[in-house]
Amino acid sequence: MKGLASFLKSVFLFKPAEPKNPFVLDDFENKSANPDDGRSDGYDGEKGADEKDGENREQRKSDRRKKITKPVLLSGNDDTESDDNKSDDKDEKDDRISSSVETCLAVIKERYSADINADFKIREFKVRIRDRAYPAFVCFFDGLVDTSIVNNNILVPLMTLSVMPMETEDRSLQEIVNDHLIPQNQLKMCRSYQEVVDEINFGGAGIFIDSLDVAFAADVKGWEHRNVEQPTSELNIRGPRESFIESNRANSALLRKILKDENLIVEDVLVGERSKTPCSIVYIKTIANSRLVDEVRKRLKSIKIAYLRDAGELEQFIEDDTFLPAPQMLLTERPDRVAAYLGEGRVAILVHGSPFAIVVPVTFFNLIHSPEDYYLRYPYSTLLRIVRILGILITLYLPAVYLAITNYHQEMLPTDLLLAIASAREKVPFPTIVSILIMEISFELIREAGIRIPGPIGPTLSIVGGLILGQAAVSANLVSPILIIIVAVTGIGSFAVPDFSLGYSFRALRFIYILLAGFAGLLGISLGMFIHFLLLINAKSFGVPFFAPFAPKTTGKRTNTVFRSPLWKEEDRPDFVNPKDVKQQPFVSRGWVVSEKGVRTDGSEDNDR
């Protein structure tokens, strides 16, 4: 009741909106105080204040609910702050690695519940240095590490090589271990248990040696993973056939392999308070707008979530508008596609455990492009894009327009076609809108069931559902044959939408258009289109208007939006991304045309050729 009352109150009473400061990607590169490091002070400060405010508000709310009257503190706020600092210091002290290996062992065993955690392994041994044996142990997760590396690069040197003669007289134990005894390429010296634990959780091995107040964390990852395979959702005939896998580093390596650019930055951010999922912000330092990189970093760092498992989850946490009926970022499993977008000045986000990379910012037009567009000659890819747009229009509007015409605007149809439709519908007892809804819902059922059921049965179901049910429905006079054609063409059109998420959006919106057409014919469709386009035009993807460069009209060229132009004509990067360097290639990118076609380098053409 209380919820209902507050809802009604919110409907009828105006509540001023909270002041907003939406991110707009403009070309003022140096607006932020320190654009290159991007860890803007303002942000941290803001975050701190916001967090505090939020916590206080939550506290106040819960207090109100519990009806607790808090005693007024006599000593004021300063004392509480200092208490907090004290407890923080205490925690830090407790977390510092002890120089007694026994204490370390006890702490690690407790942290990992080693007595019940079957895959957590601890190997105790002794290291002999300067004629003294130091107790030590190494711990790791079985299955996450490559055990041969643990044996050969950690245990063998520490247990056997340590007795070999070395120049160790004036050096500390810590230096000797680090410089001579662990021949491992990635070795981290940790001063707190938490650092070691984070490394162990992500496929590292923790090495503790008595009388050292540090521990070593060696990167010995060796878990099972999929090999790089062909993409499954973005197939192509031309172009590379590699796709991302579930490993973050493998994915960044795939990008490096394509771009071969020392300016390609892969910046790690951990997301998830418990999962600490490594995410990488990938961009080309000399092209990507620093403010855009800052914004991506800011959004990622601000996420408070326990576990992050996939890029799809991350997308929902960083998108500008949750309720917009269209995705605002591109998720792709193709490294070549991501590399192309990075080259335009966009930013990619890789999530460990997800075979999809997120690309931001994107416009509506990026979502209707296919990676193959760039590998085909431009007349073909332009034709393909037209076909794709036609597919989108059919998916969204064909059933609705059919319904509007048959219900409200019969005069639009030529007489012969009208008679054909009328005779086909003659025996059908349902109104057209009911028939359409039955068929569309059935189609969605078949599609959903086809994905969920085990592989070999999938095609059988499609045949049973598509052909036999359709034929039976027509024979039983439940729907007209023309309607079957309409629904089938609509379904085929939806498969032509290259972006998976956008396809879902169109599938859902199709039903709204059908209802509007059933209510008011073409006027209903117009109303739907007006609101749909308004929402899309009003949207932004990381500060970039969703319909750029058309609405708003930007100053740059409009190549590679709806249609494609020859690759040699695409001299500029998209201006709405505001890259640091707009020029992608010179006006004459094909040097040979200067001599053979008489094109001068200043852009003018030789009239005498």
Partner: protein, 370 residues
Amino acid sequence: MDQKTTIGNFEAACILLNLVSTKIILDFPRTASEDAGTAAWIMILLDSAVVYLLFLLITRMYKKFAGKDLLDVSEKALGKTGKTVFGIIYLAQFMYVTSIVLRQFAEDIKVISLSTTPVSIVILMFSAGMIVGAWLGLEAVSRLHVLAVPILAIAYILILLFNIPRYDVTRLSPWLGLGVEALAVKGVFNLSYFSELVALFFLMPFLKKEKNFGEVGRYGIFFSGLFLVLSTLCYLMAYQYPTSTEFFLPVYQMARAIKIGRFFARIEAAFILIWASCAFLYLSSCLYFITYIFQRAFDLKYRKPLIAPFIVLIFTLSLVPENLYSALQAEMQIYRIFAWIISFIFPIIILAIASFRARLRSKREEVSSQ
């Protein structure tokens, strides 16, 4: 702090073009032909020229106040009271024209296709679009104009082109139509066809390049004038006077006449999309201006809470005329007689007073400094 809304000059020009030209798909060519007979196109041509000159004058006077809307200028001229009074006047003008046009669109759609639907339901559907448009604000509406206006213009030009076989230049004779006197007298009142241009003076604070507002206005007047003249000329060439005074929806009539082979004989229903799109753009822009003017006139902090009461008012006002004929009368016999004064003469007066007072002030400052 909220991000300041800005719109490009092209976007502003598209808004003006749509606001002025939307009447073409309502009753415009017919009413023009009623007023000046076969010389209606000359009357519109002259009107366009006069409006252009008036606008040049206003542009010159406005230069000192670039970036300020008309209400700011009226405050400079006549103080807070002046601002409120002129705010109410312009608010009344927009509300009057919006409610009449809303009723006309609803009636037209009802006649064309939704013959059994009550007119209030059709008005409600338009109102839904208006609310969303006004809620999302000028930025979204202006961007949609940029996408839609060129498409709508092409669609309209196609209607004119497909009618070419029906054009006969001799139908334009007698060349001076109902006579020079009718041209002159009716021509003055028909300056009101361009009355929506006043919206530019409320767009001023949002223009990215505010110094170039003259360019926006000139492009707006040129293209809307071009479309108004073309539509009248083509309509009069397609239908002989006095037949041309009989069709209540002239452009729809022209669309109906299109025949491209046997298969595409009745494609006029597809033009409902054009009708409705124009209507949604026009009406949502108007609702935005209504709420904006009210907010500015009374110095209110928020605009969006005004959308609900004003849509109720407009909905109610649009139902006041008994039928389509009464709505048309309300437009032709009342609105058109006064609108040109409010849209062109009032701004000139306001600007003149504001300039005069500004000059006086500067002189006074000079004297006091000496």
